[in-house]
Amino acid sequence: MHGFEFYVDPSRCIGCQSCVNACGECGTHRGVSMIHLDYFDREWTTAATPMVCMHCDDPTCAQVCPADAIKKGEDGVVRSALKPRCIACSNCVLACPFGVPKMQVEMELMMKCDMCYDRTSVGLRPMCATVCPSQALMYVTPAEAARLRRDTPSNTFHFGNQTVETKVFMYLPQGEEALEVDVIHDMWRPEQ
């Protein structure tokens, strides 16, 4: 849909799994959900975050694909792997900094979120955004997003030395312009 953007607001996610199930009910990939719902540390927090494909400007998944199976359209949407080309090597699964692509081993095909291309191209909102009860996933115009939220969304992420700019926006903690992700630091647990 022209002029509409996708916004993810992890702070509003209640972990209800609506998006996961709605995605799996889509007619084009029935039964296979392409959205990730991540729980951080269930022992300490109820926080959860939905992870859709961020549709990077320079998609790492497509750059590492040896079979040229992942393509970015003129609208900036990075499509799911092309069935005749995908060789199920899982390069994209390992390379994506957001961990979005999923390997469907029984189908020998990588499937990932393509922003409901069948729906958004005919003027419908993506499945997940239509069902999210807390508006953690929104598909609205930037003007509408600015009216609904005080925070400013960002689409710049730093993974170590790699800077990734995306089509999908994410609401970050106030005052942050870009998300710094240091995986090693976040995974580090001092010996107990």
């Binding site: 320079d58 790492t60 497509a62 750059q63 393509k71």
Partner: protein, 178 residues
């Protein structure tokens, strides 16, 4: 990753453009690329034609020395019978036909259409290719009817001491080649 594209080594740039991540970039053909394609393909076709012409000219100027090979004895065949023999190489099947009491002819057995084996039809006195109903004259090998585009190569025979000897191959309409 974004800065990698411009900074990638020169030899990588072409395939990065050819196999671009962006579907619109992938199908984009530059004017220079298209011109290069036209010049190179037409150049290759021209070179191929020149090569074929040179090959044809070389084969015309070269005199082929045909081997002599005893094919059969005169009394081996009854009138109207045919016999397969190999000439000039061990894989080149030819057909020897006794047309009348004193007349023997031999032709390559490979039909000039799709290389089926031709057979002799004694009642019609023609060489017949059963695959697509091609007919060749028994006199000189020219095509009487059917799909074959060229006459059947004729094996020259020589009768010496009751033995038939193959001495060369000629094609109807092309003059003597041996």
């Amino acid at each position: 990753m974004s800065e990698n594209k411009g900074g990638c080594p020169k030899e990588q740039r072409l395939w990065r453009e050819e196999f671009s991540v962006s579907s619109s970039e992938q199908s984009y053909v530059e004017r220079r690329q298209f011109g290069k394609f036209l010049v190179l393909t037409s150049g290759a076709m021209f070179a191929g034609q020149v090569w074929l012409m040179a090959k044809d000219w070389m084969s015309k100027t070269k005199t082929i020395v045909w081997p002599r090979k005893a094919v059969a004895l005169v009394n081996d065949l009854t009138v109207g019978a045919a016999k397969v023999f190999q000439y000039p190489g061990p894989n080149d099947n030819c057909l020897l036909v006794r047309v009348s009491e004193a007349k023997y002819v031999a032709y390559s057995q490979k039909c000039t259409h799709l290389s089926c084996a031709v057979i002799y039809s004694a009642e019609k006195k023609v060489l017949e290719c059963p695959c697509h109903n091609g007919y060749f004259s028994i006199e000189d090998g020219h095509v009487i009817q059917g799909p074959p585009p060229r006459p059947l190569p004729k094996v020259e025979l020589e009768l010496r001491g009751g033995q038939l000897i193959a001495t060369g191959i000629s094609v109807f309409g092309e003059g003597e080649e041996h």
